[in-house]
Amino acid sequence: MIEFRDVRLSFREGLFGRRPVLEGLDLTVPEGRVIGILGPSGSGKSSLARILLGLLPADSGTVTVDGQAAPCRAVQYVPQHPDAAFNPRLRIRAAFRELFRLHPICPEDRRKQTLAAVLDRVGIDAGLLDRYPRQVSGGEIQRLSLARALLLNPRYLVLDEATAMLDVSIQAHIMRLVLEIKAERGMGVLVITHDALLAGAVCETVYTLAGGKLFQGVQGRAG
C-alpha cells in the first residue's frame, strides 16, 4: 500500500510569506483499490501526486510505497494534458524506445511482442507510434500514456485529472479500461479529479482535499 503520513507542504509566496498547501496529510491507498481525491484547482491535489512521484519534495512527513520510501518505480502516472504528454518534436515511438533503454523490462528480442501486447490491451493500433503527438487525438494520447505507464508493470497507478480534457464518451472508454486493467493486475489506483460525479462512479473511497487536509467523502459505487 501507499502511505502518506503527516505530510506538509508550503509554497513561497511573495518575499517572505509562505502559503500552506498540505497540512499534516494522512492517506492510505491499499493495493487493488481505487481511491479518489477530490478538490478544486489549487487545492494541492496535484502537489500530492507530485510528492508521491518524487517530483516535489515535501517539507516534512513520510510517503512510503509498500514500505519503501517514495518515489518508487512501482508507482506510475497518466498526466492531464494530451497535448503535452509526449515530446511534440519526436515521434511517439521514441518515448517507448526510451523506456526499454532505461529499464530492464524484458530481453531485447521480446521487446516488440511486449510492446504490441500492451498497445493491444489499451486498444491502440501500433501504426500510431510512427506519428507525431499532434497527429493523434486526445483519447488516443491518453491510451498511449496509459500504455507507457503499464509497460513498467506498476503496482499503483496515479491518474492526475487524466480525463479532464476528454469528451464524456471517451472518458467512459478510458475509465472502464483502467478499471478492467486494475482488476486484471490487482493494481491500486489513485484518481485525482475535480469531478465529484466521476469520482463517485469510479472510486471505492473518495476523499476531499480542503484546507490542506483530507476529509472522508462519499463512499462511491465502483465499476
Binding site: 512521484l53 518524487g54 506510475q76 502516472y77 503535452a84 518534436r89 529499464h103 507507457r148
Partner: protein, 271 residues
C-alpha cells in the same frame, strides 16, 4: 505573395553563386604588376588590384573565408547560448541569477568594441576572430533557451521523464534541445548575415584576417590608397558583403515564418 519572394531569392543567389563559381576557377594570387589597377573588362570582369591580382578570383576565395568564419562564429554562439541558457532555465536558482547578470552585462557593452578589445587580448588570426565574436554573440540564444527551458520543465512529458527515471542529461539533450533548437534556426541564419558584416568590419579595421588573405573587409582596407583611381576595388567587395547579408536575411525570414506556422498548427484544436 510567395512568388515575388522566391524569384528575388533566386536572383540574389545567382548573383552570389555565379561570380563565386567562376572566380574559383581562376587564380587569386597570380601577380602581374603590368596589369595592376585595370578596370573591369572581358579579361578581368571585376578588374585587378594594385598587385595585378584578379579581383573576381579574390572575391570567390574570399567568400569561403567570410562564410566559413561566420558559420564558425554563429555555431560557437549557438552552442554556448543553448548550453548556458538551458542549464540556467531548467535548474533556476543561483545558476539562473548568475547567468542573468552576465547576460545583462554583456548586452550593455557595445558588441563590436568589446570584440575588438578581446582581439587585442587574443592576438590576430582567424581563431581570435571566431572567439572574440563568438564569445560575445551568444546572449540572444541563451535568453531564448532559458525561457523555453523554464517553460518546458513543467511540461507533462518532461515530468513523465523524471518519473520513469530519465537522468537530467538525457532530459536536456533528448527532450529539451529538440524543442529549443527549431525556433532558433531563423535567428541563427539572421545572425549569420549580420556576422559577415562584423567580420568584414574587423577586417577593414586591420584586425582579424590580414592582407593578403582575400577576406572582403581586408580587401576594402587594401583598396583605400587607390580609391580614386580604382573605385571597383572597394565597391565590389562591399557589394558582396551586402549581397551575402541580404540573402541570409531573406532565408531567415522564410524560415521564421515557416516555424511559426508549424507552432500554430500544432497548438490548434478543432471544436
Amino acid at each position: 505573395m510567395i512568388k515575388p519572394r522566391l524569384s528575388g531569392f533566386i536572383v540574389l543567389s545567382l548573383l552570389l553563386v555565379v561570380p563565386v563559381g567562376i572566380g574559383l576557377m581562376r587564380d587569386p594570387v597570380a601577380m602581374s604588376l603590368a596589369d595592376s589597377l585595370t578596370a573591369p573588362s572581358m579579361a578581368f570582369p571585376f578588374g585587378t588590384d594594385h598587385m595585378g591580382r584578379d579581383v573576381l578570383a579574390r572575391i570567390a576565395y574570399g567568400f569561403f573565408w567570410d562564410f566559413g568564419l561566420s558559420v564558425s562564429i554563429v555555431a560557437l554562439s549557438v552552442v554556448l547560448g543553448i548550453v548556458l541558457g538551458m542549464v540556467a532555465g531548467y535548474w533556476g536558482g543561483a545558476l539562473d541569477a548568475g547567468l542573468t547578470v552576465v547576460m545583462d552585462l554583456l548586452v550593455a557593452l557595445p558588441h563590436l568594441v568589446f570584440a575588438i578589445v578581446l582581439m587585442a587580448y587574443f592576438e590576430q588570426g582567424a581563431l581570435a576572430l571566431v572567439l572574440a565574436l563568438g564569445l560575445t554573440g551568444w546572449v540572444k540564444y541563451a535568453r531564448l533557451a532559458r525561457a523555453r527551458a523554464a517553460q518546458l520543465r513543467e511540461a507533462d512529458f518532461v515530468l513523465m521523464e523524471r518519473v520513469v527515471g530519465a537522468g537530467a542529461a538525457r532530459i536536456l539533450l533528448c527532450h529539451l534541445v529538440p524543442n529549443i533548437l527549431p525556433p532558433m534556426v531563423g535567428l541563427a541564419v539572421l545572425h549569420l548575415g549580420h556576422t559577415v558584416l562584423h567580420v568584414s568590419a574587423l577586417g577593414f579595421l586591420g584586425l582579424g584576417l590580414q592582407p593578403p588573405t582575400p577576406e572582403w573587409g581586408a580587401m576594402i582596407l587594401e583598396s583605400r590608397p587607390y580609391l580614386y583611381k580604382a573605385p571597383w576595388l572597394a565597391v565590389v567587395p562591399g557589394f558582396f558583403v551586402f549581397l551575402f547579408m541580404m540573402l541570409f536575411t531573406l532565408v531567415a525570414n522564410r524560415l521564421t515564418g515557416r516555424e511559426e506556422a508549424v507552432e500554430h498548427r500544432g497548438a490548434d484544436a478543432t471544436a
